[in-house]
Structures are given as C-alpha cells and as structure tokens.
Point group: D3
Chain length 125, copies 6
C-alpha cells in the first residue's frame, strides 16, 4: 500500500500528461471555496485509478470523455477534451464519441456535449 | 445519403462483430412487445453511428461500456461486455473501465456495474 | 385555497379513474414502512396537480408514462401503464411512447421501459 | 424497409410541422462542429419514430416536452415548446405539463423547466 | 387531516425560518409563468414534509443540500445554502457536505456544486 | 499530506463505526471481480472525506442516505441505512429522510427508496 505522497506524485504524473503546466491548480470558484479539494481529487482519481496499469491512458481518456458527455457534465467535459487532444487523440475521434452518445444517453445529451465541445474542438485557424 | 437497406446491412455488419449469430434477435420481453424496435436500433445505433469511419470499433465499444456503467443500465452493460470480449478487449481492461467509473459517476455506480459484470467477466474455469 | 380534506377527495377522484378500487392502498413494502406516505402523495400529486383544469387526464397520463420511462422508474411505470389502459389509451399508443423514449433518454432507457411494460401491455389471450 | 432518402423525407415532413422553415438547420455550435449530426437526427428521431402511425403528433409532442423537462434538457425543451405551440397545443396546457413534472422528477426539475419556458410561453403583448 | 390553509400556514412557518421575509415570493421567471406553482410547493414540500415532527429542521436542511448537489440542481442549491446558513449551519459544514458528494455522485457533481456555492459560502469580508 | 497507510487506517476507523466487524469485506460479486476496489473505496471515501473534521459523522451519514435515495442506488442505500442505525440515528428519522426525497427527486425515487428500506428499517419483533 503506497504512501499518500506517492498517490499525489503518481496522480500528478497523469495530470501533467493531460494538461501540462495548467494541471492541478484549476482557476475555479470551487478551488477558492475548498482549497484542499483538488489535491484530494488528484490523489484518488489520478493517483488511485488512472495510474493503474491494466488500461492505457488513451482508453481512459476516451472513456472519461464518453461518461462526462453521457452525464451532461459540460465543464469537466471541456477540460477532458483538452486533455484528450494533448494525448494525441484527434478532433475527429472525439466528435465521433460525442455523436455516438445520442444512442446511449439520448439526442439532447449529445447536442449538449457537442455544443460544449465546439470551442475546444474547432479546427485551429 | 445511403438507403435504409444499407443502414440495416451496415448495422448488421457491426452487430455480427459484437455478438456473432446472437445479434439482432435479442430474447427479451421488449422484442416480443415491440417487434420492430430492435431492427430500428440496428439501423440507427449501429448503421448510422458505429459504422462511421472516424473512430475504431474497439474505442466505440469501450466508450459504450463506460457510458452504460455511468448511466446504471446494467442489462445493456452485460450485452456490451460480451461484445467487447468478442472484439478482443481483455477482462482486465474492462474491469479498469468499470472501476474508474467511481471517479465520474460515483462509487455506487461503479459497484452496481461491477456487480452486474461479475458473471460476464469471471475468468473461465 | 381548498381544504386538505378537499385535496384528498379531489386526489381520490383522479386515482379512482386510474386504478378503480385498487387505488390508494398499494400493497408495497413502502406502504408498511411509511403508512402516511401514500395519503400525502394522493393529496399533492393527484389532488394538487392532476386535478387542475388546464390539461385533460389523458394527456397527463401519457406525459407521466413518458417521464417514468425516461427516468427508469419501472415500478411506477407499470402502475401508470395500467392506469393509462383504464383511461382508454391503447396498447399501441403506449408502446409508441416507450419506443420514442430512445430518442430523448437513449436506447437503454427505452429497452428497460419496454421490458417492464411487456406483461402489462401484452395482448389479452 | 424504406430507403434512407425516405427516412429523411419523412423526418422533414415532421420537423416542418414543428418548426416550419427553421427546421433542420439549427444555428448551434454543435451543427458547426458536427455538420452531419442533425441530418442523422432528422432521419432517426423524426423519420423512424415520430412518423410512425400508432400515435398522433400532438401526443408525441406532449410526451417529448414532458421527458425533456424531467431530464433537465432545457435547450431542447425550448425548441420543443416552440414546436408544440406550432401544433396548436396551448400555453396553459404546456405550463400544466411542466408543473406536474414536480411529482415525478422533483420540484427542482419543474422549476428549471418553468424558468427555461418563461420566454417561450410568455403571453404575446 | 389538516386543512390546506393549515398546510400553507405550516409551510410558511418553515420557509420563514429558512429565508425570512424573502420566502414565498421568489423572483424567478417560473413564478411569472406559473404564479400558483410556488404556493403549491410551499404547501406540499414545506407544509406536508418539512413540518413533520420526526426529524429536526437542521437535518432536513443538510439532507436537502446533499440531494440538490447530487442531482446537479444548482439554482435550488444556492437557495437552500442561504437557508442553511440562516438556520445556523456553518460554512465549513456545508463545504464538507458538497465535497463528500464526490464519493456518491462523482467528482464532476461535487465540482459543479462547489462552483455554484462559492458566492453564497464565501466568507464575509 | 498523510500516508496511504494512514488513509486506510483512518478509513477503517470510520467503517468500523458504521458496520462493525462486517466492514471492509463486502460479500458482493464486485468484490470477487475487482478485489482491490473496496480497499481503494475505504481509502478515499472514508479515509479522505468522511474522516475530515469539519462535519460530524451523524450528519455525514444522513447526507449519504439522502443522496443514495435521490440517486436510486438501492443496494448502497441499504448498507448505509444499517450504518446509520449503528450510529444511533432512529428508524423514524431515516423514514423522514426518505419520504422528503419526494420533494427533490420525485415521488418514484422516494417510493423506490422506501421499498428498499422496508426490511432494514422494519421494527424488530
């Protein structure tokens, strides 16, 4: 059983792959209200789960995007779309994930997700 | 714009990869009550979305498993876990997807999904 | 502002239309655990909302069936399908409502609803 | 089994009843990001389901409004409230559907829906 | 069985504890669209349930905050956070309720709730 | 930042209060399929969140029961109802929490929760 310092270190290794230097200090009202919260999230989401060996990071990222779209969590979805692009997942692949959400969570969930994704996934000019 | 016959044919090509000969005629009360329903589902879920080129079938399968776990749809989850195994996704990978659901949909959603998956993903004796 | 006796009387007028003599005393574990609960439900769901003039009972019934299917509440769905049949809504109409749920809440929600409905809506032999 | 051209044609017949000339080309970020998506939606939601004979369009519209309110999908709700008015459903009837949502999806869902509906359903001056 | 006048009176007794003089006439589009709705809510949420003897008001308030956070209903959440502060529940306690939501409804639900709460729970300057 | 051994130890201190000797080794298919999962849950749900000082355990238990009822997670709900009884929360208080769920998550959510609770909360004979 690893130490919590290890959990944080392991978690940060993942978040750096996803968001580079912007990782770990999100500029959100939630971070001002509950300053310890995102450190805990780094430990348990990324240090305990994402860093486990049995599944590659690319698949974990796609599954996370898919779940956030299905659940209608648009703010976290945007963050994880940026992360997915940083991992080398393409715009086209991500649009397909969001479109397919219509089958399992309904058309409105897919529309909401595609609307939220439009800025993040717009082709660079 | 393809013909609907094509939609059905294209959809069946996908469902055969996922479920072989068991595809398309699920033995469910829903199929007795609404005999046309699953034909429509084959056309639109599999013929319109899954068969699109921009994302590989393996990724579509993982994303579907992830969404069904997040949404608590255990019956469809079991079906898609079988499909994922047929595509060559491993037991270990699928367990990781279900465990990670705890982060985004909460621990009870992950427990429900793991309970539902236990029979499907139990190692063969 | 009507009296609560009136609320109960007005509510019972609605539930009798839906379920006849079976109304108001559901044989559920919930009713044993919380004996006052269903009386309150009769007052506020049926006495305060369903009995309002601006929408006909048939439309209220269809909308309720649609919402319960979308929300995955299969036990209440069965009860309201019986109620809908008693109001003269046909089996075919109800199957259409449940099938269309696939568009707005996803295919798994529709499958769950159709499975739950199969006994209630099976044609009499 | 009809052709997909037919699905699109049949779907457009429905969407024209709901939204007239504004149908089919929603001015949404989602439509810019995924230009083929709304064509697919027209085919499967409206061409495959809404255009089926067993249930009248008015009832399909009411059920859709009810489901979108229950699921908290406010953008699509506004669109379908416009559609419902175009079909001749009255403001009063729609407000009743939204109020009754409190019974089945909780008071906050009803408040969210009524807030979203206020502009669409405000009486013309 | 009490009269509805009693329900309203009993409900108002509760809402006054939560929101003082601001109770009962929320300045929301929903209140303009459906002027009778919030009176009904006062009767059944507060007059029928919150005013029952078996559970103290402080616990009812905490449970409501917890449920609204889990369900992602941010507008009602803000209102009930104000109410909780008026009952003497502390900022720190409420932040803990929202953080713990991560365990049962997932991290995105907790982030959404904490973001919504930041203004209401910010320490006075 | 504490060590993970501490997280586990701290988590177990909480789960022992809730479930005594039955804590930590739930006899569930999920535990056979994913043997490490519940250890991780003990660390992060109970070691990271429940064991924080800012909110008493009784309030954390009530909020958890309320959230599980609102989310329809009946298996975990039963477990936490047992835990709540072990903390000294009364049957009557728990029934009130579940009944009040009708206001915020709808009547069907409350009925589902009360049905699930009936065995756990039945008065001892």
């Amino acid at each position: 059983m690893a130490e919590a310092d290890d959990l944080l270190a392991r978690g940060r290794e993942v978040t750096r792959k996803l968001w580079g230097d912007r990782a770990g200090a999100p500029d959100l009202p939630a971070a001002r209200l509950a300053p310890e919260f995102f450190g805990l999230v780094t430990q348990f989401c990324f240090g305990m789960f994402w860093s486990r060996p049995g599944l590659d990071t690319r698949s974990r990222s796609l599954c996370t995007v898919a779940q956030l779209a299905a659940l209608g969590k648009t703010d976290e979805l945007k963050g994880h779309l940026y992360g997915a692009l940083n991992l080398g997942i393409t715009r086209e692949e991500l649009v397909e994930v969001l479109m397919q959400t219509a089958c399992y969570a309904g058309v409105p969930a897919a529309v909401t997700a595609l609307n939220a994704a439009a800025d993040v996934l717009a082709p660079p000019k």
